[in-house]
């Protein structure tokens, strides 16, 4: 990131905006599903699930899938909270069908929105007309011009790429959805995966046909902001043999959301020689300085390297949520397949993060790389938890793990929990871990050269994250840096 000079950065900005505008339009054209609906009353039972499925006009098999998941969920014990301190969640107090969002409690205009939020949009350079939607102001469609979006969609169609909402995919490509849904994250996988499978609201579906290199970065940026896709999002990406796709998820602007609990599931499938690059910048509302409010983010993300030579790469920059619990993982089934995990997780105030990855080596000569950068500020706590498992038949599997923690201030904490399980003696597993503080000497050095304290911290943190930032697509990297800077404000003094 640091190398990005002014010029490239501003070019990237422009491109970025163009991409967003296009995605914007794609949303208008491709994602809006017309659901005339009131919100279901809070509570979760079989009947609620039937109603969700009926309202979405789903095929029978999908309803069965949901009901089955619900049964599994009911039988599951409460989740193991790892290093987290999670207040009890009352699952019966949540409404499981609320799209489209009711406008009743929404602010009527930006004047009613928390000025702090607006200030942040300003710093991030979010265009004015986007702020209203991000802040949840009750406005109708704000999109104009249709042409750009149509071009965008046509371009994808030309090469056979499917990029649509999950609900739409269920209607238009039921065979594809049926084949892959739950194939990577089965509903019985964990408590939140089961809950999601039972009640998921909507999400994204991506299909890249054989030999196709997706001509653009696919982004959910706008889709997620424009409509409350709900707290139980579902994403499925399938890359057929020899294909490539880069998918961007998330949003740098802090989002207001009435739903405190978010439990998404993301499944990636990479066939022979296919590559999937999945990048996330996540900034859910973390709660205020006193730890009040904030989103609980419990996500199950997993990629399956099904074919030989396939590759899945997760890159994430996380600054949001009151509580984050997520471990984007790779199952390396194909021989010579590889998995990567690059992560920056920043916690401030009373935020808690327990993130990491799992790399499951099943095929021969499989390779995984884990670079995790944890930054703790204020009274926050930041844990890395990683599992590298090498199965009996995974000859010559290799893993390299590097976990670095940076502490800013005295009251924060960082913890690293690397687990390795190897059943094959030819495996090579390397682990490096460091914990450091921003040293007085580093700060002084910057100050002496004329760089003020806040900029100095930002510079040092940026350097610390460099290995991860360089994995992000350029425009995302620029946003990620801006986001970290904002999250770091007031970190010292």
């Amino acid at each position: 990131m640091s190398e990005i000079d002014n010029q490239t950065a501003s070019t990237a900005d422009v491109e970025n905006r163009a991409v967003k505008e296009r995605a914007n339009q794609a949303y208008k054209d491709g994602f809006v599903t017309d659901i005339e609906s009131e919100t279901l009353p809070p509570g979760l039972n079989e009947d609620v699930i039937r109603q969700i499925s009926a309202k979405k006009d789903e095929p029978e098999w999908l309803l069965e899938y949901r009901l089955n998941a619900f049964k599994q969920w009911q039988a599951m014990p409460n989740p193991d909270w790892a290093k987290l301190n999670v207040p009890a969640i009352d699952f019966q107090a949540i409404s499981y069908f609320s799209a489209p969002k009711s406008n009743k409690n929404a602010p009527k205009s930006l004047d009613e929105v928390d000025p702090k939020l607006l200030e942040t949009y300003d710093k991030l350079g979010v265009p004015l007309h986007e702020r209203e939607r991000l802040a949840g102001v009750a406005v109708d469609a704000v999109f104009d011009s249709v042409s750009v979006g149509t071009t965008f969609k046509a371009e994808l169609e030309k090469v056979g790429v499917i990029f649509s909402s999950f609900s739409e995919a269920v209607k238009d490509h039921p065979e594809l959805v049926k084949q892959h849904l739950g194939s990577v994250v089965p509903s019985r996988d964990n408590y939140f995966a089961a809950l999601n499978a039972a009640v998921f609201s909507d999400g994204s579906f991506v299909y890249i046909p054989k030999g196709v290199r997706c001509p653009m970065e696919l982004s959910t940026y706008f889709r997620i902001n424009a409509i409350n896709t709900g707290q139980f999002e579902r994403t499925l990406i399938v890359a057929e043999e020899g294909s490539y796709v880069s998918y961007l998820e998330g949003c740098t602007a802090p989002m207001r959301d009435e739903n405190q609990l978010h439990a998404a599931v993301v499944e990636l499938v990479a066939m022979k020689d296919a590559k999937i690059k999945y990048s996330t910048v996540q900034n859910w509302y973390p709660g205020d300085e006193n730890g009040k409010g904030g989103i609980y983010n419990f996500v199950t993300k997993r990629g399956l390297c099904q074919g030989d030579n396939s590759k899945i790469s997760w890159t994430q920059v996380e600054t949001g949520s009151a509580i984050t619990w997520k471990y984007p993982s790779c199952i390396l089934r194909g021989d010579h397949s590889s998995g990567e995990f690059y992560s920056v997780a920043l916690t401030n105030n009373y935020q808690q993060a327990d993130t990491g990855t799992k790399m499951i080596h099943l095929g021969k000569n499989t390779k995984s790389t884990i670079i995790s950068k944890g930054i703790s500020v204020g009274k926050s706590s930041n844990a890395y938890r990683g599992l590298v498992r090498v199965a009996k038949k995974a000859d010559h599997a290799r893993n390299f793990t590097q976990c670095d923690s940076l502490l800013i201030g005295k009251d924060c904490g960082a913890h690293t929990f690397p687990y390795t399980e190897s059943a094959n003696s030819t495996a090579k597993i390397e682990h490096e871990a460091t914990t450091s503080k921003i040293s007085e000497d580093q700060l002084n050095y910057c100050l002496q050269r004329g760089i003020g304290e806040e900029d100095a911290i930002s510079l040092i943190v940026d350097g610390f994250c460099k290995q991860v930032f360089k994995e992000l697509p350029m425009e995302f990297a620029v946003e990620a840096k801006a986001l970290l800077d904002i999250s770091l404000e007031g970190a010292i003094g």
Binding site: Q7, L447, R449, G450, G452, E453, L459, G463
Partner: protein
């Protein structure tokens, strides 16, 4: 340029500077020598405003400004540059980006326009050539994995880019081989001008063969105990500091 009057300073619980006086006029080069632990680096830290040193009495005037009232980054922008005795590593931050951030922060403070990356690159490339240094220095993270000598050269290079009014070099010659010493000395000599002053802290007379000082001072026990011209350095080289106490 610089007028230091009766400075007392301490770090931790230790009184280090005990009534130090020094006047530096524009264009002058002052060498400061003295035994280990005398307070030489502390003097540099006082001028640069490093937070761990506390000034308990005295004043420092730089071109009519009360230097002690300014924040360290403000002093930098006013033209104070300290080449550190032990330059610090900043992993992941590329040297050139670091310097551009520094230069633009200073320019901004001075109300000047920030320099765009293209002009900056051109300027820096020229500088590195003029100073006979290798340009791989630019791409590497600040001081990370630099040899001792490379770190010192990097300090001088940064000085060249930032063009300070008052440069304090703290043992920049220590640990340099003969060639590097010449490069560093050349770097300083190129920057010498009627409106730029240098305070050069060193233990070795040989540096002064390359950079000819206008004055040589001996700092011992927190004070300047002797001042002279460049011949003082030669005497010290022959006789050590012991004779000063006789």
């Amino acid at each position: 340029m610089l007028n230091i009057k009766d400075i007392f300073a301490k770090a931790g619980d230790k009184d280090i500077l005990k009534g130090l006086n020094l006047e530096v006029k524009p264009g002058e080069v002052h060498a400061i020598m003295g035994p280990n632990g005398a307070g030489k680096s502390t003097l540099g830290n006082v001028l640069a405003g490093m937070p761990h040193v506390e000034v308990t009495a005295g004043s420092v005037d730089m071109q009519g400004k009360d230097l002690l009232a300014l924040e360290p980054e403000e002093r930098a922008a006013e033209g104070v540059f300290l080449a550190f005795q032990y330059p610090v590593e900043i992993p992941g931050v590329n040297n050139m980006y670091f310097l551009r951030t520094a230069l633009n922060a200073q320019r901004k403070y001075r109300g000047e326009e920030e320099m765009d990356s293209a002009s900056f690159l051109r300027m820096v490339k020229q500088k590195i050539k003029d100073m006979n240094m290798r340009d791989d220095l630019l791409k590497r993270p600040v001081n990370v994995g630099f040899s001792g000598g490379e770190k010192k050269r990097n300090e001088v290079f940064q000085m060249g880019v930032l063009e300070p009014k008052l440069a304090i070099l703290d043992e920049t010659d220590s640990g340099l081989d003969i060639d590097a010493l010449k490069i560093v000395a050349d770097g300083v000599n190129q920057l010498r001008s009627p409106d730029r002053s240098f305070v050069i802290i060193t233990h070795y007379q040989r540096l002064l063969d390359y950079i000819e000082p206008d004055f040589v001072h001996v700092l011992a026990d927190g004070k300047i105990v002797r001042s002279g011209d460049k011949n003082l350095a030669l005497e010290l080289e022959e006789q050590g500091y012991g004779w000063l106490n006789q």
